[in-house]
């Protein structure tokens, strides 16, 4: 019985698969997705944009953060099917042409990363923050990045890296 139910479920999801056009970092990707395919799965497994990381698949760690229409969202909690017609920016779209963004450069210079698995998510969340507010105070940086978990760095150097960009003359609005 269980087998039949599960089989039916799968059959349905297979039947309902369709081709989506996702605009990621300025390029259109045609990807075959089921109704329950997440944006994270579409990016990593169908568009092979693996810079966006899967840390928990539960919206609890922030490693999969991407920017959709200017807002940071968790790709693991976002359905790919809802993303047609949206503008999606991933970590691969931050350093176009191989140039690190000022924020990325600041992370490198401050040693604000160790294993690096959470780093793309942090860059996306902090990029959104600095776009909205180029000169955030330390308390706002901490509050806004509290949804991104890091187990290696103890966060100190991440705060310092974001702060350094925020305190720069141009701030972080790039």
């Amino acid at each position: 019985m269980a087998a039949q139910e599960a089989g039916t479920q799968k059959g349905l999801s297979m039947d309902r698969k369709r081709v989506l056009t996702l605009n990621v970092n300025g390029d259109d990707y045609e990807v075959v997705c089921a109704p329950n395919t997440t944006l994270l799965e579409a990016l990593r497994e169908k568009a092979f944009l693996t810079g966006t990381k899967r840390g928990c698949d539960l919206g609890a760690c922030g490693a999969c953060t991407v920017i959709v229409d200017g807002h940071a969202v968790l790709a693991c909690l976002t359905l790919a099917a809802d993303m047609e017609g949206r503008t999606i920016r991933t970590i691969e779209g931050i350093s176009e042409g191989g140039e690190l963004s000022p924020l990325q450069q600041s992370f490198v210079d401050h040693g604000a990363l160790q294993c690096g698995f959470c780093s793309p998510g942090f860059i996306m969340s902090a990029t959104e923050l600095l776009t909205e507010n180029p000169h955030p105070e330390r308390a706002e940086i901490q509050r806004r990045l509290a949804g991104n978990l890091c187990r290696c760095t103890g966060y100190v150097k991440i705060v310092e890296a974001v702060e350094a960009v925020a305190q720069g003359a141009e701030g972080g609005a790039r």
């Binding site: 160790q114 294993c115 187990r151 100190v156």
Partner: protein
């Protein structure tokens, strides 16, 4: 006076840009043509015999390419410690905890594999289970492994001096008991494996999120029955480990098994729940500490009894309990000492190496008890630590050779910097300061398999290529090794390239554990760089008209010591090297093994445990919210003797990360397991510290120049994880006058304690 150009510099990690742009490739980022996806079926009961497994529905599901159970694979156990192997990749007769692997499937996509796994039904005969080590050692307790009576799978009993005589000679004797909880490593990258089989040559390649590629290779060989020379393990970028990726796991075995059986690449990736439930965790431990002291607070005798909750399998059991034992003999001088430790099986998730590895538990107990004793006999807790401080060059009861020791200075510096004299016992109610101390080995010496090798190649263009076995899991091992080689060869970092942790290309290495990489693999790299110098410098000396030992080298330039204008560049030297018809590239080889009498086991023998020892005192200031019971850690500072930091920025990163880990251990983290079922196997429920819990931090470097570490370096990765938790709990005691004896100290515990105090105060008033 050491003049250093690359070592000691705040050099960014060589792969920092790759990581920050999302280009670094972790195991799950890899895709191979024709790749299949795997899923494991796990036990839903804590203890039972497998009566039958029905895989027929799974096999019939379209897209499923393979299904195996424990009876389909060789009956071979594996484990990280050769004498303590007790795990099957898939259970054969028995399951021993909820999450134990019983079957595996592979399919054309992840969705199908997961569905097939759900279609497998297992019939069990449930057995009585045991969930607490103190219950498990009782007569008549269920046996987790039939061949281990009493469920004690590893034990150690060490005696130094005359314990009873010491207690008799003491002015006071105190006995206190403590408990520490299960902590999960929670690396951000879930465990993953990708295997590929070359049927033409019989060669297996495994990309795995591992900390020890060479041990993994060995365990794969003995379980898959494939010769080691046909197995290549490659460690891609690894997203953190903290000890959790030391062991081989079912995902490694099953990916390889199916790849070989099916002739197609196979990937297994654990989800976060599997990471929590079915990899490793820090051993919960019951500890009793009996200590005899003089009226001044001098420790005369100490007995420590420890029962570690090992969960269902051994993993590192003998090593863990040995480390736990030997590290109660440092950083204090204790002449008369007994440690009795037991690693006990239970039907729970498996304990393993975690940053500190068996040492944070007794450290918590001992550092808490020192504060308790200081209060009881009326001495200052900081001065009591100083009074008992170990010093360099003294004979050590267990045979440790301590060449350099900044411990006493660390106590003084940390106490001064936290404002001990002004604050301790003098802050308003709810606010307090505490300190705690620790020491850690730079890798373990008296064991087998501890050699590191390194090859350095200097090309005709001056490119320096390193092959090292060291496993960088995010701590920056590759960068540290590159800095050591750059310094010694005399080139800037941009000339140096490193390939590491690929068993098909790189020399043997013991892997990342015990905080030994910088000293062990770093010395191997230093020796390889010295070999380059030995081949290159005669040509330099000829060019400069000087003796070889007069040459200084830095930044692609060689000059005669004292006369910098007599110099020659790397490019010219390499050209001359070719003119004299010597063969290029210049290849330097180096190896290093920690100095030890013999490859022995500390379970039975004493000896110098480690090439060298780091020392630290950590001080915390906390504020307890009397309404909510929440503890706000305001400041944590560390006075730290880690020898010469090869890269101060990376050392700070280790320090800062371990302080947050220590805060989690002290206040938040607890992998709760009730009747064998984990109750919080997700980031949402587990709750390790976020950026909101970030305290002010300060590091104070205590200078020592160690003769054994490369450029005088000692470990800096694990030791600083030991003292934050006791320092914080000691500070809580100072803040509210309540002495907690178990971790974590939760708001509930604080509110209950405050309520009890109020009631007692009212009682006394009546």
């Amino acid at each position: 006076m050491k003049v250093l150009n690359v070592v000691g510099q705040r050099v960014p990690m060589h792969d920092a840009a790759a990581k920050i742009t999302g280009q670094a490739r972790y195991t799950d980022d890899l895709t191979l043509p024709g790749m299949l996806f795997g899923k494991l079926v796990r036990s839903t009961i804590a203890h039972g015999r497998i009566k039958s497994i029905d895989v027929s529905k799974a096999k019939a599901l379209p897209g499923v390419k393979g299904v195996i159970t424990g009876m389909d694979i060789p009956d071979r156990v594996y484990g990280i410690v050769p004498k303590a192997k007790d795990e099957h990749a898939l259970a054969r007769e028995k399951v021993r905890y909820i999450g134990d692997e019983v079957a595996a499937v592979v399919a054309v996509d992840q969705e199908t594999a997961e569905e097939a796994a759900r279609l497998i039904t297992v019939e069990y005969e449930e057995l009585p289970a045991v969930f607490d080590p103190l219950e498990a050692i009782k007569e008549g307790a269920p046996l987790v492994h039939d061949n281990t009576p009493g469920n004690v799978s590893a034990q150690i009993h060490k005696e130094f001096g005359d314990l009873e005589g010491g207690f008799a000679a003491s002015d006071y004797v105190f006995e206190d008991s403590f408990y520490t909880q299960a902590q999960n490593h929670a690396p951000m990258e879930p465990h993953a494996a990708l295997a590929s089989w070359d049927a033409l040559n019989g060669d297996l390649t495994l990309w795995s999120a591992t900390q020890i590629p060479y041990f993994l290779k060995r365990n794969l060989s003995t379980t898959l029955l494939i010769p080691e020379q046909n197995i290549r393990v490659i460690k891609p970028t690894v997203g953190g480990g903290f000890g959790q990726k030391i062991d081989m796991f079912s995902k490694d075995f099953c990916a390889c098994w199916f790849a070989k059986e099916l002739g197609r690449p196979v990937k297994f990736v654990y989800d976060r729940e599997e990471v929590f439930q079915s990899t490793r965790q820090r051993h919960p431990m019951y500890l009793t500490v009996k200590t005899g002291v003089s009226t001044e607070g001098k420790i005369i005798a100490q007995k420590i009894t420890a029962h570690a909750d090992g969960g269902a399998y051994n993993s590192t059991a003998p090593l863990m309990i040995t480390l736990s034992c030997f590290f109660v003999m440092i950083p204090y001088k204790i002449e008369n000492l007994v440690y009795e430790g037991y690693h006990v099986y239970t039907n729970k998730p498996v304990g393993g190496a975690m940053r500190g590895h068996g040492i944070p538990q007794p450290r918590f107990a001992i550092e808490r008890q020192i504060d308790l004793i200081a209060k009881r006999i009326g001495v200052d807790a900081s001065e009591m630590r100083l009074l008992n401080a170990i010093e360099a060059g003294e004979p050590h009861p267990a045979g440790f050779i301590i060449n350099t020791c900044g411990f006493a200075d660390s106590v003084r510096e940390a106490s001064r910097a936290i404002g001990w004299k002004e604050k301790r016992g003098k802050l308003p109610f709810g606010r307090g300061v505490g300190i705690a101390c620790a020491s850690f080995p730079s890798g373990v010496a008296n064991m087998s398999h501890l050699a590191s090798g390194c090859v350095v190649q200097l090309s005709s263009e001056g490119r320096v290529s390193i092959l090292s076995g060291a496993a960088d899991i995010g701590q920056g091992a590759e960068t540290v090794i590159a800095q050591i080689v750059a310094e010694r060869v005399g080139v800037p970092m941009e000339d140096v390239h490193i390939t590491a942790a690929d068993t098909g290309l790189c020399p043997l290495d013991a892997g990342t554990f015990g905080s030994g990489v910088t000293v062990r693999a770093g010395n191997a790299a230093l020796n390889a760089a010295n070999d380059i110098r030995a081949q290159l410098f005669p040509v330099v000396a000829e060019a400069l008209g000087c003796e070889v030992d007069e040459i200084e080298a830095a930044n692609r330039l060689f000059w005669v010591r004292g006369t910098p204008d007599r110099s020659v560049g790397m490019r010219d030297v390499l050209r001359q090297y070719q003119y004299v018809d010597r063969s290029l590239p210049i290849v330097g080889r180096g190896a290093w093994v920690p100095p030890a009498d013999s490859a022995t086991t500390l379970l039975t023998n004493n000896g110098n445990l480690s090439p060298n020892y780091s020392f630290m005192t950590q001080a915390a200031e906390v504020e307890v919210d009397l309404e909510t019971g929440r503890v706000n850690v305001i400041k944590v500072l560390t006075a730290h003797d880690c020898g010469q930091p090869i890269n101060p920025m990376l050392v700070e990163g280790q320090l800062e990360g371990s302080i947050l880990g220590g805060i989690g251990y002290a206040l938040y983290e607890d992998s709760t397991c009730i009747d064998g079922q984990q109750h919080n196997p997700s980031f949402l429920d587990y709750g390790f510290p976020t950026m909101m819990e970030l305290p002010e931090m300060e590091g104070i470097h205590i200078d020592t120049d160690d003769p054994i570490g490369p450029f005088g370096a000692k470990e800096a990765g694990e030791g600083t994880q030991l003292a934050p938790a006791p320092a914080i709990v000691n500070a809580i005691a100072d803040a509210i006058g309540v002495d907690f004896d178990r971790l974590p100290v939760t708001p509930d515990m604080i509110l209950a304690a405050l309520k009890k105090r109020r009631e007692e105060a009212v009682g006394e008033a009546r």
